[in-house]
């Protein structure tokens, strides 16, 4: 990093749809960048846990991004990572106590993983790669997109695991008493396996979309 001379990055002011949407699909944190896998797998054993985790992470992503973006000219480069971590840890502590106050059940279900948002690589990664070199507006919009992308990926993962593993969705029974739950899906191996299959599906869809784009541009070589 130190090899790159520090120069004032050229800032683009415009807040475009692209700034928001890149986190949703093209650079989805979980499915493309493979960041934040630990909480994604650990708390996705039910849809409600996944949603709560996604929203908590989104909140920290937006607030820490906003503060870092506002302070980006005052944070010395040498201690920037330490500064980011302290800012992030502050907001995570806030979320931790808020969830504890709002719903103790949820707090117990998520356990230490709320506090572990501090070391979620998405947040530090976005702080370093985006918030530290973009103005407030763009950072907030981008963080919202990234957070939503993370939340959606987590929600899909959690919903699949809950439907297969408990036969319910958001705690509502779906199949009646004769359904034999596929218990392994809500256990740790299920997390790995469902996410793996989601990645395969994602790659298949992208390959189809990608080939369309390539065909439109006239490049039709096999991937």
């Amino acid at each position: 990093m130190s090899a790159i001379p520090h120069r004032e990055p050229r800032e683009k002011q415009a807040v475009t749809w692209d700034v928001f949407s890149e986190g949703l699909w093209r650079d989805n944190p979980v499915l493309v960048m493979m960041l934040g896998l630990c909480p994604a797998l650990a708390v996705s054993n039910s849809a409600i846990n996944a949603l709560a985790m996604g929203l908590a992470t989104t909140f920290v992503l937006i607030t820490s991004g906003a503060i870092i973006s506002l302070l980006r000219r005052f944070i010395p480069r040498q201690v920037r990572i330490a500064t980011y971590i302290v800012i992030i840890a502050t907001f995570v502590t806030l979320v931790d106590y808020s969830i504890q106050a709002i719903s103790l059940d949820l707090y117990n279900a998520l356990g230490a993983f709320i506090q572990l948002i501090v070391v979620n690589c998405i947040i530090l990664g976005r702080a370093e790669a985006y918030a530290s070199r973009n103005p407030f507006g763009r950072t907030v919009v981008n963080a919202t997109g990234m957070g939503l992308g993370f939340t959606i990926a987590l929600l899909v993962l959690g919903a699949i695991r809950e439907i297969l593993g408990s036969g319910s969705l958001f705690g509502v029974d779906l199949f009646g008493p004769n359904f034999e739950p596929w218990v392994v899906m809500i256990l740790p191996p299920g997390g790995f396996i469902v996410l793996s299959l989601m990645l395969v599906a994602f790659n298949l869809v992208n390959r189809r979309l990608g080939s369309n784009i390539k065909q439109a541009k006239g490049h039709s070589h096999a991937a």
Partner: protein, 195 residues
Amino acid sequence: MQPDSLTFIFLNAALMNNFVLALFLGLCPFMGVSGKLETAVPMGLATSFVMLISSLSAFAINAILVRYHIEFLRLIAYIAVIASAVQLVEMTLKKYTPGLFKALGIYLPLITTNCAILGLALFQTFKHYGLMQSIVYALGAGAGFTLAIALMSGLREKLDLSDVPGVVRGAALSLMLGGLLSLSFMGFAGLGGTH
């Protein structure tokens, strides 16, 4: 086995509740550095070492925080201490054992953002472990992490030679392997303890 005996704590952290395969902590290095056996094992050992150091530091910090009733600073204090511990370990190794330092290379600084380390510190606090129990817990967690990452790299080395479809290649395949490993580690659950 008694749930708070040292043997149980070690086996629990290493096998029944393996940090990577059952608790999903430290997946980034598990996925990122498990390509080859000769990088995976040093990574596991370095992580175990930092786990031990930060477990000790976290124990001391927590004692201070509880003493002055400022537990709400726990998270910030832990992460700051872990970051400094990694830095300190790095500097000490560089000064006294340059060979080892060179062998570990870039993996050392990256360990700060490994959630297994912070997870370990938080779990030992939640479980109210004493000093000796914390040390054993850290050793068990480190052994479990090293075991998991070494097994994974062995499997991936074999898979490099086999013909798999293009869409599955890469992360999806690694995750599937992780799932199978995790499934087999569930067999250890019979040894006792679920938390």
